[in-house]
C-alpha cells in the first residue's frame, strides 16, 4: 500500500476514457479488483473504478450477444441467455470459476484481460469465436484469436478500455461441452477443455477445440479440429483428434502436474469432451 495516490470514480464511459488518456500509463482500470488487490502493475498511481459507468449486463447486437465488461461471473452464470445459448456452455463454465465470493467479484472483462494461465472463461470465449471491444484512442474490435496471440497486458495500450465481449449467436444446430480439471472444486485449473461443434444434419461443418491452463494463454487446436470437421465423427476420429491435441502442445511447467501427465490429461479429456459434444 501507499503507492496509489488517487482513486477516480467516473460516472460515464467518456469520463473514464478521458482520465485514462490524461494519466497515460499511471492510471489502471479497476473493475472487480481481485487481481489488482494482490498485484498492481508497476508505475501506477491512480485507480480508475469503472464499476459505475453502465458496463454491466447483456445487450443484443443482432448477430451477436454482447456481455459488458463489468458483468460479474456470478451474474453471467445466472443469466437466462448464458444458460440457453450453446447448450448452456457459458453458465456451466462460469460456475466453475473460483469460488462463490470470487464469482461475485471477478468480472468477465477482468477475467479476459488479466487472463491468468488457469482462467476459465478465456478458453470458452475463444472456442465461441468471441470478439473483444476496445474503446480508447483507437477504438477497435479484435477477435479473441488475435487478442490472445500475445498477453493482453502487453498488447493493450495505456488509454485502452475493454468494454464488452461479443459472442456470435449460434447458427443452426450447435452442441458443446466443457470441462475443468483440477484437484478440488476450488483448485486452479490444471486443464480446461472447450468443444463447440456446429452441425448440419449429423455432419460437423465447423468445430472448435480450445484448451486453457496448459499454456500461459488459451489456445485453439486446429490440428484436432480438422480431424472432426466435414465428417460424422466416429470414435476413432475423436481418439485421433485428442492424440493430435496432446502432441502439438508443450505444456507449461506446473508444480502440480508434470508435462507428461498433462499431455495424458489432454488426450483423455479432449476425447471425452468431443464425445460429449457430439453424442
Amino acid at each position: 500500500m501507499g503507492r496509489i495516490q488517487h482513486y477516480e470514480r467516473p460516472q460515464k464511459l467518456d469520463e473514464a476514457l478521458r482520465i485514462l488518456a490524461e494519466r497515460k500509463g499511471k492510471a489502471c482500470v479497476l473493475a472487480g479488483g481481485t487481481s489488482l488487490a494482490l498485484r498492481l502493475p508497476p508505475g501506477v498511481d491512480t485507480l480508475v473504478d469503472i464499476s459505475r459507468i453502465g458496463l454491466t449486463g447483456l445487450e443484443d447486437r443482432g448477430d451477436s450477444l454482447a456481455i459488458r465488461a463489468c458483468t460479474t461471473v456470478a451474474q453471467l452464470a445466472a443469466m437466462p441467455q448464458s444458460r440457453q445459448l450453446y447448450g448452456g456452455l457459458l453458465a456451466r463454465a462460469a460456475l466453475c470459476v473460483a469460488s462463490t465470493p470470487l464469482r461475485n467479484q471477478i468480472t468477465v472483462g477482468g477475467n479476459l484481460v488479466q487472463v491468468m494461465p488457469w482462467s476459465d472463461l478465456p478458453g470458452v470465449m475463444l472456442a465461441l469465436d468471441g470478439q473483444i471491444v476496445i474503446q480508447g484512442p483507437s477504438p477497435r474490435i479484435v477477435p479473441l484469436r488475435d487478442f490472445y496471440a500475445a498477453h493482453p497486458r502487453n498488447s493493450l495500450s495505456a488509454g485502452d478500455l475493454v468494454t464488452e465481449v461479443r459472442i456470435p449467436k449460434p447458427v443452426g444446430r450447435v452442441q458443446s461441452s466443457f470441462v475443468k480439471v483440477g484437484k478440488t472444486a476450488f483448485d486452479y485449473a490444471g486443464l480446461t477443455v472447450t468443444v463447440v461443434a456446429w452441425l448440419s444434419g449429423n455432419e460437423v461443418r465447423k468445430c472448435s477445440v480450445a484448451l486453457g491452463a496448459v499454456r500461459p494463454l488459451p489456445v485453439r487446436i486446429p490440428q484436432a479440429e480438422e480431424e472432426i470437421v466435414g465428417r460424422i465423427p466416429t470414435r476413432d476420429d475423436m481418439i485421433r483428434a485428442a492424440a493430435r491435441a496432446a502432441g502439438v502442445l508443450e505444456p507449461s511447467l506446473d508444480f502440480r502436474y508434470s508435462k507428461d501427465y498433462r499431455r495424458q490429461l489432454i488426450k483423455v479429456w479432449v476425447k471425452r469432451c468431443l464425445h460429449e459434444a457430439l453424442a
Binding site: 500500500m1 495516490q5 482513486y7 479497476l30 479488483g33 481481485t34 485507480l47 462463490t100 465470493p101
Partner: protein, 161 residues
C-alpha cells in the same frame, strides 16, 4: 485519501481511507473484529461479508469501491445474546471448532438461504465453496445449514442438540 460512506450492520458510517485500502482492514479498524483475516488473498473466505447482499472476500475488495454499499458482518447477523437461527444451528450442530472460519461460513449460509430457502446438499456445497474450514471436515457445517433452513422455514426445531 478517499471519503467513503458505508452502511455497516445497519448503521451509516463515514470514514476516510487510503485509495488502495482493502475493506477487511477498514472494517477491523472500525472495530468489526468479527471479520477475520486468514489468507489475505481471497482464498480462505474467513473475511467474507455480505456487500449489498452478495458474499465477497473483503480482503480483496477495495474499500473505495464499496462506497455507498450495505455491509453485513456476522455480528450484524446476530450476537451471543441474540443469535440468528443460522448461528444457533452452527452451535447446536457442532459446526464450530476453533471458530475462525465461522463468521464467514454463517454469512455464506445467509447469502444462500436468502435466495434458496430449501437448498440440497449440492447447493450448500457450492454456496460454501469459498469458505475453508481446517478443523471439521464440513459434515457438521452442512448439517448446520440444513437445520438452519428448516428452522427458518418454521419446519422443525434443530435436531442436533
Amino acid at each position: 485519501m478517499v471519503n467513503v460512506t458505508l452502511t455497516l450492520n445497519g448503521e451509516k458510517t463515514a470514514c476516510t481511507v487510503l485509495p488502495d485500502e482493502k475493506l477487511l482492514d477498514t472494517l477491523r479498524r472500525l472495530g468489526r473484529t468479527d471479520v477475520k483475516k486468514g489468507c489475505g488473498e481471497g482464498t480462505c473466505g474467513s473475511c467474507s461479508v455480505l456487500l449489498n447482499g452478495r458474499l465477497v472476500a473483503s480482503c480483496i475488495v477495495f474499500t473505495a469501491a464499496a462506497d455507498g454499499g450495505e455491509i453485513l458482518t456476522a455480528a450484524g447477523l446476530g450476537t451471543a445474546d441474540n443469535p440468528h437461527p443460522i448461528q444457533s444451528s452452527f452451535v447446536k450442530a457442532g459446526a464450530v471448532q476453533c471458530g475462525f472460519c465461522t463468521p464467514g461460513m454463517v454469512l455464506a449460509a445467509k447469502a444462500l438461504l436468502d435466495v434458496v430457502p430449501e437448498p440440497d446438499v449440492q447447493q450448500i456445497k457450492l454456496a460454501l465453496d469459498g469458505n475453508l474450514c481446517r478443523c471439521t471436515g464440513y459434515v457438521k457445517i452442512i448439517d448446520a445449514v440444513q437445520s438452519a433452513a428448516r428452522t427458518l422455514a418454521g419446519k422443525d426445531e434443530v435436531p442436533h442438540a
